[in-house]
């Protein structure tokens, strides 16, 4: 897993949620971070802008933790660089 991507994801989540970046750990779940459905779409919007990727709705619904988000973005970035 890329530490750089993980750090950028944590930054985006912290900024969107208005919480300190230190509080966003790689194993934090969205539930622990008190991220509800509206927070979720805001974070997805910010992540899509940060990494210039499109996260499909179905995939987005399955993401429940910071680690799953980082894994998903790595896959999308890999698919993008293959194009």
């Amino acid at each position: 897993m890329s530490q750089e991507i993980a750090a950028r994801v944590a930054q985006v989540i912290a900024k969107t949620q208005h919480i300190p970046a230190e509080s966003v750990g790689i194993d934090s779940t969205f539930e622990q971070l008190k991220i509800d459905s509206l927070d979720g779409i805001n974070i997805l919007f910010a992540i899509e802008n940060e990494f210039d990727v499109d996260i499909p709705d179905d995939a987005a619904r399955r993401i429940r933790s910071v680690r799953e988000m980082v894994d998903g973005i790595e896959k999308l970035l890999a698919a993008k660089s293959e194009k």
Binding site: S37, D57, R61
Partner: protein, 401 residues
């Protein structure tokens, strides 16, 4: 205070299922879905492909050029449905009746097509002069005002905007006005035309629109499908309707509303239950008397099980429910009116429209949702549910006459 029974003596519908009430009902009882690739926005401009647009709509079929230039698409739909409903009622508005009649319409987004075109001209094409009719075309009450002009109705005329509950709130207010004697006749319903690029992009970002079709209560449901159109009802006191020998589609028995005070977008079973109970209480109807519920049934992962939970808390196992949004899409501020028309037609014909596009049962939505094929059933009372973003719920109770 006066309390009169209220009959529905006129129904008009323009929807993805066709431009008239007859085509609407034919499609509903056949379980035919009107969800198709969208044509009103450029292909590929949004992540979802399908919508429930009014098919082959040409404004010149309904309005002369001068008239249509003054009306946004959503107001055109409102007027078309009102014309059909009033003609169907057979009511002629004489001078006294014009003063004693009311119009209440619902719309969630108003004249978005007009706004979208205007803003595109300003921001993208740098036109510094804005189309001068934009304000009266885009106002949410444009439909109500135009219907008022059409018939010379000078009593209470207004528009309610409560997102997806707008039309149910509108019909409920009109029902109460006729019941308590504030109005002798009311035209009530809702209209919507949400297929403009700016609004669709906003819906895309909400991540609640299905990438394929709308499958309410089905295990593999993936979200809602937007729809457009309008429906209008003509309401009058039952005694008046009988005295003039009118064709009576049914009675509005009760109306109830509630607010979740829970979350801006997540539904609450408690809020839904309180609105359904309020409608039963308003109409003095026992839960056991309700045979059918036209569900809000958006087809999103969270709405459907929440609504089923609320229904199960009040009604018996044997209740029939269906979501006609599977056929005409989710027409937002028009949804409640289109579904009120569906519910009245179902009671009148003794045929309950199905939930179309159904593939497999979901244990979390474990009720008889009338999958795919209409059901013959003589039902005396029915509910129609609308639950809005913002947590605002409105439920109408109907009775077969």
């Amino acid at each position: 205070m006066t309390s009169r029974r209220v009959a529905v003596t006129g129904i008009g519908v323009i929807s993805a299922l066709g431009p008239t009430r007859a085509e609407f009902w034919d499609a509903l009882k056949a379980g035919r879905s009107a969800i198709r690739p969208m044509t009103l926005v450029p292909e590929g401009s949004v992540r979802f492909q399908n919508g429930a647009e009014v098919p082959d709509y040409r404004e010149s079929d309904h309005f002369d050029e001068k008239e249509s230039a003054l009306l946004d698409r959503f107001a055109q739909f409102a007027l078309i449905a009102a014309r059909e409903a009033v003609a169907n009622s057979g009511i002629a508005f004489d001078e006294a009746l014009k003063e004693n009649s009311a119009i209440v319409t619902g719309s969630c987004v108003g004249g978005k097509t007009t706004e979208d075109e205007g803003f595109r001209g300003l921001y993208e094409l740098k036109n510094m002069r804005f189309p001068p009719l934009s304000i009266p075309k885009a106002m949410a009450n444009a439909g109500a005002s135009r219907i008022s002009l059409e018939y010379g109705i000078t009593g209470p005329v207004y528009t309610i905007s409560t997102a997806c509950s707008s039309a149910n709130h509108a019909i409920g207010q009109a029902f109460w006005m006729v019941r308590n004697g504030t109005a002798e006749v009311a035209i009530a319903g809702g209209s919507e035309a949400p297929f403009s690029l700016g609004l669709l992009k906003a819906w895309e970002a909400m991540r609640v629109i299905s990438p394929d079709t709308c499958r309410p209560f089905s295990r593999d449901r993936r979200g809602m499908i937007l729809g457009e159109g309008a429906a209008m009802l003509v309401l009058e006191p039952l005694d008046r309707a009988r005295a003039r020998g009118a064709r009576i589609w049914g009675e509005i028995a009760g109306f109830g509303m509630s607010s979740d005070a829970h979350h801006l977008t997540q539904p609450s079973a408690q809020g839904a239950m309180r609105a359904m109970r309020a409608a039963l209480c308003d109409g003095s109807v026992a839960p056991d008397a309700i045979g059918y519920i036209n569900a809000h049934g958006t087809g999103t992962p969270i709405n459907d099980p929440t609504e089923v939970e609320a229904i199960r808390a009040i009604f018996s196992e044997n209740i029939l429910i269906s979501s006609t949004k599977s056929m005409h899409g989710h027409a937002l501020g028009a949804a409640g009116a289109i579904e009120a028309a569906a519910t009245l037609l179902a009671l009148d014909h003794g045929v309950i429209p199905p939930t179309a596009n159904f593939t497999e049962p979901d244990p979390a939505c474990d009720l008889d949702v009338i999958p795919n094929a209409a059901r013959q059933a003589q039902v005396e009372y029915a509910l129609s549910n609308s639950f809005a973003f913002g947590g605002l719920n409105a439920v109408l109770a109907f009775r077969k006459l």
